[in-house]
Each structure stands twice: as C-alpha cells, then as structure tokens.
Amino acid sequence: MKAYITYFKLKFISSLQYRSAAWAGIATQFFFGFVYVMVYVAFYESGGKNLPMELSQIITYLWLNQSLLALVNQFSKDQELFKIIRDGGVSYELARPKNLYFMWYFKILGQRLANVTLRFFPLIIITTILPYPFHLGGPASLLHFLSFLLSLILGTLLVVALSVFYPIITLITMNEKGIVNLLMTIASVLSGVSIPIPFFPKFLQIISSFLPFQYISDLPFRLYVGNISLTDGVFGMCIQFIWIVIFIILGNIIMRINIKKIVVQGG
C-alpha cells in the first residue's frame, strides 16, 4: 500500500507544477460556466412546464460542475500513460513487482486531485460573489452538504476506476483515439456534464440509472442543491460503491488477460 501512496504523492506534486495551465483553465471554465448559466437563465425567463429543477439549483449545479471539472470530467487523458504505452516504456512498469492496475489507478487519482486543487478554490470564490441570480448558492442543508462530500469522494474513486480502462484499452488497440474517444463521449453525456440528468427524456433517465456514469458527478451535485432526498442519496452512494468494486475487479481481470499477450513497441 505504501508504494501506491508514493505513486500518488509523486504524481500529485509534479502535477501541481503546472500553474499557468491552471490559470488558463480557470478562465476557460469560468467563461464556459457563464455561457451555460446564461442559456438556462434565458430558458427559465421564457417559462416552461414541469421543470425538474429550480433556476438557482441548476445554476449552483453548473458552477459546481465547472469548479470541480478537473476532478470529475470524462475527457482528461493522462498523456504520460498513453505515451509509455506507445513508446514501449510500459515494459519498465511491468518489470516492477507491483500491481500495474493500482499503480495506474493512483497516478490518475493523484493527477486529478492536483488539477482540481489548483483550480477549484478561485472558481468557488468568484462564482459565490457573483450577483443574483448568477451566483453559486449554498448547500440545501448541513446534512446535504456532508452527503455531497461523501458521494463526491465515492464519485472520484468511480471516475478514476473508469479512467483506468482507457489506457488498458489502449494496450490492446495501440491507439488512444478511435474507440477511447467514442467511450469518453458516451460517458460524458450520460454523466450529466452537458445537461443534468433530470432534463433527460424519461426513457434515457431509466437507462442511465442502470449505468454508472450519473453516479460520478450528477449524484453529488444534486445532493448539494437538495434535488435528491437524503434517503435516495444514501441509496445512490451504495450504488456508487458497487460500481467502484465492479470496475476495479473488471479492470484487474482485463489487465491480467492483456498483459499475457502484450506487444511492447520499440524498446
């Protein structure tokens, strides 16, 4: 276990070096968040029927999403992992007497946590002091906030378990585009990043509840704004936990099968 934590620390500290990238990220996320917020404000001002969320809830949801995007997004690829697969460096990793799956797991976790550490604080501050109705609101209650934190931690473990699949798939296909991008797009839409799950058509909401993606960020954010009751939240967290276990076991199995027939590129 100690070795894995060291991997995590190494990646975390080295990723903290990219500060100028972080400022650019903050500016970008702020602008994008603002565009999304304005679209919803315009829609809500035009009036609608049976709206699943209140305007203040959806704006808070959108800002949380932008602030924590580095933690929960579906599109970040750990370039270093893909590089060692392409240029054959993966053979060094295999030479180490540790489980490759967990080495990668903790590296990805470290990078995501470092990126979000650099970004979320300024974004939370700026968006909280924005004028009504554009601002990030407070949590629905203390209990909602605590369950938000807990489910966000579980959601992070889940998104990392999902992200480890991408380099594993690349071990087979030797190409980090094509199929990986296809999967990322599906994961991204169904996780509610582009549009919150309650706005999905009914049938898609049902399909989506059987898939893991909405338990990454949609569940914690909706708990925060109070769009999900606490009992449903606890139920959701159980599902998060089950998916994490399934993904880690599945990832380990696929990894083990693939390593047997791995072709190392170059040397």
Binding site: S20, V41, A42, G47, K177
Partner: protein, 258 residues
C-alpha cells in the same frame, strides 16, 4: 490556390492510410455532434421557447454556426493547430518559402474526420428549414447563403486571432478555447437571447450577432429592413483586424529553435 488543393488531397490520402482509425474517429465525431443536437432537443422538451425562439429556429441558428466551425476545422486546420507549428519550430521553414504565409499555414494540416460534422450540420439545417414556415423569395435565399458564408468567415477570423496569440506565448493555450469553442457554444443560440452587455460585446467586439441574429430576424420575417438581410457582410470587416494581428504578431516572432 492550386497548391492548397494539392495539399488537401495529400492530407486526405494520409488520413485514409489508417482506415480503421479514420472510420472510428468519423463515428465518434458523428456521436459528438449528435450530443450537441441532443442537448438542445432535451431542453426544448421542458421549455417551449427561448426568448421567443422556437426549437427549429434555434436549430437553424445552431446548424449555421456548427457549419462554419466545422468548415474551418476541415479546411483551416493548420491555423487551428498553429501552436504545434510554433512549438515544433516548423514555422521557420514556412518563412523561408516564397509564398503567402497564411496560405502555407492553411496547407500545413487538415482534418477530414470533421467532414462528418459538415454533413450533419447541413442535415440539421434542412430539417430546421422544412419545419419552419418561410415565405421564400430570392432575398431570403441570399440571406441564408450569406449567413452560412459569414459563419465560415467569422470562425476563420477567430482562429487566426487565436493563432496570433501563439506568437506571444505558447503557455495557457486553453484560453483560446474561450473564443473558439466557447464562442461556438454561445452562438448556437441567437445572440439576442442573452443579456444586453453580451449582445453588445458579440455585436461590436466579436460580431457573432451579424452571423446568427440580425440576419436570422430578417430570414424569419420578424424584421423587414433590407439592412438586416445584408448585415452578414459586415463580418468580412472582421477579417481586417484578424489578419493585421497575425502579421503584427509575426513581426515579434522569434524562433524557439530546434
């Protein structure tokens, strides 16, 4: 111009060498585009209109903006990926050749996978037009064509400005996305639906409103002044500062070596 088409053909051949990859990327692009389309459809199941614009009116606007963006991704990819030219030091090579520099940058890359988006945006455009009751006349056809054309021009200008940014620094390139992707995302809806400040910004600083709002009002028959119909022509003026910025930046350029 001949050089440009020859280089396009070369890039196409190059991309088709990796056939499976090309097909998979093509499929994934279709899916990506479909998600944009899906978001708007999903929102319109909950809302009847956005500031008076109905689903198909928004889709018309959406398809025109997506068309212009995809057009530049296919045919002006070199400008979009200009930072790579600078970082690799390949820009120095272009400077040595006795041809127009912007043309050479255009020739340096292209991305045919994005043709999928061009096709899809035209499909959405046709769907939208079929559902709208438009009293057609010659002027409206011209307006529609001008909108499509100016959409290509405005993104070309923005890409060029974003490329000029690379002359000053190649750090924090994500900021470029604010103007390219962010602008595209915003202009999917008629600019008029946003608050006043934004409308002014996107009329006078980055003239999206002349692509997707003022001519749209004429096209939908909400405004009858002929000025609205020809307002997309103003977007061409936007090319002047874009090109000037690019050349000004180039004067400052010092090679990164290698």
């Amino acid at each position: 111009m001949k050089i440009y088409f020859e280089s396009l053909a070369m890039h196409l051949k190059g991309e088709l060498e990796y056939r499976v990859d090309f097909i998979l990327s093509f499929l994934s692009q279709i899916l990506v585009f479909f998600t944009y389309y899906f978001i708007i459809l999903a929102l319109f199941t909950k809302f009847n209109h956005i500031k008076g614009f109905t689903l198909y009116e928004v889709l018309l606007c959406f398809s025109i903006v997506q068309f212009g963006f995809a057009f530049n991704e296919v045919f002006a990819r070199g400008i979009d990926k200009f930072d790579e030219l600078i970082i690799r030091g390949d820009f120095d090579r272009l400077l040595l050749r006795p041809k127009n520099i912007i043309l050479q940058v255009l020739c340096s890359d292209s991305d045919f996978v994005k043709v999928s988006r061009l096709i899809q945006s035209i499909i959405v455009l046709i769907i939208a037009i079929c559902h709208l009751n438009i009293s057609w006349n010659l002027l409206k056809i011209i307006t529609l064509l001008l909108m499509l054309f100016s959409s290509c021009i405005i993104f070309f200008g923005i890409f060029l400005m974003a490329a000029s940014y690379c002359f000053f620094t190649v750090q924090g390139l994500e900021v470029r996305n604010v103007f390219t992707d962010g602008g595209k995302h915003m202009a999917q809806y008629p600019i008029g639906v946003f608050s006043k400040g934004f409308v002014y910004f996107f009329t006078f600083i980055i003239p999206y409103a002349f692509v997707n709002y003022y001519p749209l009002l004429f096209f939908l028959g909400r405004k009858s002044s002929i000025l609205y119909a020809f307002s997309p022509l103003l977007v061409f003026l936007y090319l002047i500062p874009s090109i000037v910025t690019f050349y000004l930046g180039m004067k400052r350029y010092s090679s990164v070596g290698s």
